[in-house]
């Protein structure tokens, strides 16, 4: 029932084919260019052609952000645009150095290339995440809503409190421990992503061993309730871990955008400075072959 279509092979790998063809054409053209023009750089006609091509590509790539939010248009499909966005994005990593004749320095020109490279690389990470992480998500069951999660957890905690009523001190202490068990220490988005804090969250098996260790310390009359407490606690830990895992994947699916988007705008600024300054110092005469 599910078609195995994704952003990379959309429409019979249309954009992949375009990507390969363009890449081959670019390389061939560059070989000729480098052969005839002993000193390839951005300031001669052919070099500028690469530059204009790169600029065009960047503008189209940035248009994706707008296209994604233009909901009424039938100008291509969003899937097609994303597929285009990915392949042409990678292509810029080739076009732009060709424009510069593979010459880099410590200046605003190289800075804009570096920023662009960061954008493209973060985008590649994003592509990897988009293709692989939704599948991982399905391992953790149905997506939990925050409200649902809250309600469920509160239900467990309430039941635990009810169990600990009129019990011995040790039981109450164990109950309080159970309630705070498995709550991850670090709850910031990046900590969740890198599993920091949740590493010291108790795993279910750890907790089970501890339960068994403490069982003999519990009064005979409270043993049944203690076991009930253990079951509740295990269910709570399971739910917490599931929620955490889902959060982690959701964060990963989003986090790369926090690099991709800001850096792309920074790149746009650097690129503008690059273009303006080059034209300011060299004039338009360089566009004449």
């Amino acid at each position: 029932m599910y078609e195995d279509e994704n952003v990379l092979n959309y429409n019979n790998r249309f954009w992949f084919k375009i990507f390969i063809i363009s890449l081959v054409l670019l390389i061939i053209s560059y070989i000729f260019y480098a052969y005839y023009q002993r000193n390839p750089n951005g300031a001669n006609f052919v070099g500028l052609l690469y530059g204009v091509l790169g600029l065009l590509a960047i503008l189209l790539l940035m248009y994706y952000g707008i296209r994604k939010r233009t909901y009424n248009t039938t100008f291509g499909t969003l899937k097609g645009w994303l597929s285009f966005h990915i392949y042409i994005g990678v292509l810029t990593l080739v076009i732009v150095p060709m424009h510069a004749g593979f010459k880099f320095g410590i200046n605003v020109h190289t800075l804009s290339f570096l920023l662009m490279a960061i954008v493209v690389l973060s985008g590649l990470f994003g592509t990897y995440f988009y293709i692989n992480f939704p599948v991982k998500f399905t391992k953790y069951g149905k997506e939990l809503l925050y409200d649902e999660f809250d309600d469920e957890i509160n239900k467990f905690i309430n039941q635990m409190y009810i169990l600990s009523k009129k019990k011995s001190k040790f039981f109450v202490q164990k109950c309080e421990e159970a309630i705070s068990y498995g709550v991850p220490k670090g709850q910031k988005a990046w900590q969740i992503i890198f599993n920091i804090g949740s590493k010291n969250a108790t795993s279910e098996s750890d907790y089970l061993t501890q339960i068994n260790k403490d069982l003999h310390k519990i009064q005979e009359s409270e043993r049944d309730d203690y076991q009930r407490l253990a079951v509740l606690s295990l269910q709570k830990i399971e739910l917490q871990n599931r929620f955490l895992a889902q959060m982690r994947i959701k964060n990963i699916l989003e986090v790369w955008l926090y690099i991709h988007l800001p850096v792309s705008f920074a790149m746009l600024v650097a690129l503008t400075i690059h273009i303006v300054s080059v034209i300011y110092y060299n004039g338009f005469s360089m566009f004449i072959p």
Partner: protein, 800 residues
């Protein structure tokens, strides 16, 4: 006070409700010397008994308004304002707070006495209504302050012990409205609720099961006292703590008053009406009754009657209000006058032959008379239309795609379209005109109303429905004489979702045909768990294999997948059918073979991780198989970006009709909260304006924002919560992150602004019918995770 030439009025109108006001307005226009007497204020019932902001309806829509007063459906306040404005602008001669106590006849004139005055008049128009005269239990303490016959504002009671006396619709409405924040009891003298609006019944049963409302059946009030009420049962008494009491035991025509005036009633029964002629005149010449007191309790009819009675009074002939409409509609029908045409229809169409003229007129004003030419297609198999057709003249043929050689002809007097009407499914056959024909096309709602109010019509349509279902599912021609033989023994059984129809291992004694709804067929595996092997929608039969086997043991369990109606055929009758149609047996046997093969293949692909349920079971469980266009999200591709929701929001005036995250997930797919445009859609069943929520010809269920009154019925009926009641238009949610906002700002506003959503109405998915390119949710998914499927899809679900 000027009492006219000799101090004698032309007319005294009693009661300033819709009928009285309308009569007064007409009398004023005709320069009659009249006075309008009212015991309270203008439109007292509306003012006093209706809750604040209550929506006043203007049924029946098809009948035009004939009154000098304006009347449009709207809130209680709007209606009151418009009438009060009219009364002051046109100086209606009204005496408010002056009840008429007595009408005395003397010297060919009438004297109407009020506490402060007496009026001599030639005619009296009684328009005192009915609701203004609520019944009282007639027990001790009923006049105490905490005992009331109306509920003004449910919000003003909280955490109180309340008692509602009565068991009709309005009593239950009051109890339900109060039950949210109070402890509510009901006292009802009968042993169960009778003749109640089905939705109300459902709600009250639910609340009484959960003990949110305590219903005391078989109880009468013995007495009221401050803080307590004593109820009396056949075998005991109960003293109940009650802070407030609401008495809702209906209203009645104030019969003693009318009888004192000498007016006769049609019978001794409680609901009997005063006797009157066509011109609203009672047996006492000069006394007229109009409005609810005469039996017409719709506001619009009352307004019309008020107008007409004055016209009759001054000697004008008034043709019935629907006459011009009918004249135009009935043009294709032979006959000189409307009455002749009606007689002609009655003689041609047995279905409506026996109903009263008034009902027939109403029926026809709401229907269309259509003329079709030879070879015209009236509808096609698979269409979504739901109207009902009666043939006045001509012959049509039903053509079935499944069995093209089957020939069914329908002639004058017969009808078709009952399958779609009663099962709310797509058309099951194509209907083609064989020669030039004249048909009556009746909207679904009108037809259902007629069927439900006229048992003989219900029986005829029901039988045809069963017969046609039988013929269609078994693909045979059953002749009417054959059917007559088995018809009396056919049983129509109704099952709710999940009810078991027959169980694996039972001894079979009958064959079942699904006429409405759908069923799932399941078997038990060796380890005792249940798995679903098939799903059958309406128009299919089941239970035949056990009948054809030697031991007659059911081999599978069948249960209703939704509210389902089954026609049950006893084995003896089934054998009769088989004897007459020997080809049927072979076909059934062949079909059984193929079903067996299907079953085994389904068994083999039961998924390992989820043994007891397959994907079919999940589709059935979550009602997905009932849908005609459902949004599905492939969870292995969904990146949780919610762009689908943003797209829905952006294309629907900032109000999304899609909520991605809730909703069932199974087999790595997710069914978000968005309309599935179900077959047999429950949301369509009770829309007060009638057509605010409809299924259009493409099968899309949509809500007209202009007609919707925001009552919330459709949302209540929807089992999947996909109809959203909106307050004010929501502002688009802030997009996460500054740069997203930056992009948003520079986004060119290419798209035309979406229509703003009106306050307080229901909204739902409309499949983006007004934008090219299909639903925005699917188009805005960057990863092909969101897709929509049609029912054909479920027939070829692959298992993975």
């Amino acid at each position: 006070m000027s009492n006219g030439a000799e101090g004698i009025y032309d007319a005294v109108i009693i009661g300033a409700g819709p009928a009285g006001l309308s009569a007064a307005a007409r009398a004023g226009e005709n320069k009659l010397n009249y006075v309008l007497l009212e015991k309270g204020v203008i439109a007292n019932t509306l003012d006093y008994y209706y809750q604040y902001g209550k929506y006043v309806m203007s049924q029946p829509i098809s009948i035009p308004l004939r009154s000098d007063l304006q009347f449009q459906a709207g809130s209680r306040e709007e209606v009151l304002r418009s009438w009060n404005d009219y009364a002051s602008k046109h100086t209606i001669k009204i005496q408010t707070r002056e009840p008429a106590n007595e009408i005395i006849k003397k010297n060919g004139l009438f004297e109407v006495k009020t506490p402060s005055n007496s009026y001599n008049t030639r005619n009296v128009i009684v328009a005192i209504g009915k609701l203004g005269n609520p019944r009282k239990p007639g027990v001790e303490g009923e006049d105490l302050d905490h005992v009331s016959d109306r509920l003004v504002n449910p919000g003003s009671y909280s955490n109180q012990d309340l008692l509602v006396v009565g068991g009709g619709d309005s009593a239950v409405e009051v109890a339900l409205a109060l039950s949210e924040n109070n402890r509510v009891s009901m006292s009802y003298r009968k042993s169960e609720f009778f003749r109640m609006n089905s939705e109300l019944l459902k709600q009250i049963n639910e609340k009484s099961e959960n003990k949110q409302i305590n219903v005391y059946f078989n109880s009468n009030v013995k007495s009221f006292e401050k803080g307590f009420t004593t109820l009396i049962f056949p075998d005991r008494e109960l003293r109940l703590k009650t802070d407030y009491v609401f008495i809702k035991i209906g209203a009645e025509v104030p019969r003693p008053f009318l009888e004192r005036c000498g007016i006769n009633f049609s019978s001794e029964e409680k609901n009997a009406l005063p006797v009157k002629n066509d011109k609203y005149e009672t047996n006492v010449p000069g006394i007229y009754v109009v409005g609810a007191v005469g039996g017409k309790d719709l506001i619009k009819s009352a307004l019309n009657e008020g107008y007409e009675v004055i016209e009759y009074l001054i000697g004008n002939e008034v043709e019935p209000v629907d006459e011009p409409l009918l004249k135009e509609k009935l043009l294709p029908i032979p006959g000189a006058s409307v009455n002749e045409k009606l007689a002609y229809i009655s003689s041609k169409v047995p279905l409506v032959a026996k109903i009263q003229t008034q009902l027939l007129r109403e029926f026809l004003t709401q229907s269309d008379i259509i003329q079709v030419k030879k070879d015209d297609i009236i509808f096609e198999e698979g269409d979504y239309s739901t109207t009902f057709f009666s043939i006045v003249e001509g012959v049509v043929q039903a053509i079935f795609e499944k069995s093209p050689d089957k020939e069914v002809f329908l002639r004058s007097g017969e009808f078709f379209g009952e399958m779609s009407l009663l099962a709310d499914r797509r058309r099951s056959a194509t209907i083609k005109a064989i020669n030039d024909s004249v048909l009556i096309e009746t909207p679904r709602r009108t037809m259902l109303k007629l069927i439900n109010s006229e048992p003989p019509i219900k029986r005829i349509v029901d039988e045809a429905f069963s017969l046609n279902t039988l013929q269609a599912s078994l693909s045979i021609n059953i002749f009417s004489y054959e059917f007559k033989e088995i018809a009396p023994k056919l049983e129509i059984l109704e099952f709710k979702k999940g009810d078991i129809i027959c169980e694996e291992g039972d001894v079979a004694d009958s064959l079942f045909v699904i006429r409405r709804g759908s069923v799932k067929i399941s078997k038990k595996s060796k380890d005792g768990s249940e798995f679903v092997i098939n799903y059958l929608p309406a128009g299919n039969y089941f239970g035949e294999s056990a009948l054809l086997k030697v031991d007659n043991i059911r081999i599978a369990t069948v249960s209703a997948a939704t509210t389902t109606e089954i026609v049950r055929i006893l084995v003896s009758d089934f054998i009769k059918i088989l004897q007459r149609h020997p080809e049927l047996e072979n076909r059934i046997k062949a079909e059984m073979e193929s079903r067996k093969i299907e079953t085994t293949s389904v068994l083999q692909i039961q998924r390992e991780d989820d043994k007891d349920t397959g994907i079919i079971a999940d589709f059935i469980k979550h009602g997905v198989v009932e849908s005609t266009d459902v949004l599905i999200i492939d969870e292995t591709k969904c990146i949780r970006c919610d762009n689908c929701v943003s797209a829905c929001e952006a294309t629907h005036g900032g109000q999304t009709r899609l909520d991605r995250r809730p909703g069932p997930s199974f087999s790595k797919i997710h069914i978000p909260i968005a309309c599935r445009h179900c077959e047999g859609a429950p949301c369509l069943q009770d829309c007060p304006p009638g057509d605010a929520i409809i299924r259009d010809f493409d099968g899309v269920v949509k809500i007209d924002p202009d007609t919707c009154i925001g009552c919330g019925n459709c949302a209540k009926f929807c089992p999947y919560g996909v109809i959203f009641m909106v307050g004010e238009t929501k502002k688009p949610t802030l997009l996460k992150g500054f740069f997203d906002n930056a992009i948003n700002i520079i986004t060119p506003k290419k798209s035309k602004p979406a229509p703003k959503v009106k306050k307080g109405i229901a909204v739902k998915c409309d499949l983006c019918y007004n934008i090219s390119g299909g639903p925005a949710c699917v188009r805005s998914c960057p990863t092909s995770a969101a897709f929509r499927v049609k029912p054909e899809y479920f027939k070829k679900v692959e298992f993975r």
